[in-house]
Symmetry: C2
Subunit: 144 residues, 2 copies
Amino acid sequence: MAKGHMAIGALARIAGCKVETVRYYELAKLMHPPERSPAGQRRYTEIDAKRLSFIRRARNLGFSIEEVRGLLAMVDDQEHSCDSVRATALSHLQNVQQRLADLRTMESVLGDMISECTGGTVPDCPILDALFSDHPEDNRAPSI
Amino acid sequence: MAKGHMAIGALARIAGCKVETVRYYELAKLMHPPERSPAGQRRYTEIDAKRLSFIRRARNLGFSIEEVRGLLAMVDDQEHSCDSVRATALSHLQNVQQRLADLRTMESVLGDMISECTGGTVPDCPILDALFSDHPEDNRAPSI
DNA sequence: ATAATACCTATAGTAACTATAGGTATTATC
DNA sequence: GATAATACCTATAGTTACTATAGGTATTAT
Ligand SMILES: [Zn+2]
Ligand SMILES: [Zn+2]
Ligand SMILES: [Zn+2]
Ligand SMILES: [Zn+2]
């Protein structure tokens, strides 16, 4: 392998993802189609490795593929305005905070239900009772 | 409509979900196939309404379809042991708590990144820099 | 030279719905 | 009783972000 060029497996290892994921990101237009070896295998550079790691970090922070596409467009456009980057990140943060709120509610409701249930072989389980009982406000869907 | 019997739209309204979701739950074997009108439309009873509401409450607490299937099996088996209900709920609670931990991490990292960025038109955005910068521990995937 | 490993494409599967198309039933209005 | 609006039906495809499989080729190691 010429130095500075690596196959897909090495690239994936660097970024901490699977080979299939890399091919998927190419299909999804997050990664540019790389050069190919004479026999048709993908060959990547250090720049590709940085890009893939960027994508993985953003994904691990919960940015959607669409959001990552947006961030990468700003990276690629070079004259990206800080403003739009910040806006994407802020809107995503709010997203995360909403999910946090929903999960905190779930946690407390689950905790309450579980603490009511002794775990014996009681005919009426307080957990099932809670799920059957009719508090209409429990029918809200959590915002995703 | 004979009293005590309703069409799918009314049922969905009671449980706070879409008609398609009800049909999906039937396909997924969470809801029993209901009786049909002479012309083939689904007709539901109050019991169906309670079951669907149970499903929706469990789903809103983040139980997976598979978990809900398990809970319903215990409901249907009548001699359900409290123990298994409790075990399902507890394991799900741990699940929720793991997601909470991941989201709290995301929240704090995002918050830090955003506070570095002034939002002007600076050539190097600290948010993008953070996503490009090479802290290998950032490559961990969050457990789902 | 041979075997093990890594790579290739194309396609289907995952979770939990949601949306669409094309058609029939029921209900309300005149 | 006719017509129109709404609700319902089935079957199929789309969504997200991958993951898995099948069947085949390339590269590397021995
Ligand atoms: Zn987001
Ligand atoms: Zn119990
Ligand atoms: Zn769970
Ligand atoms: Zn910035």
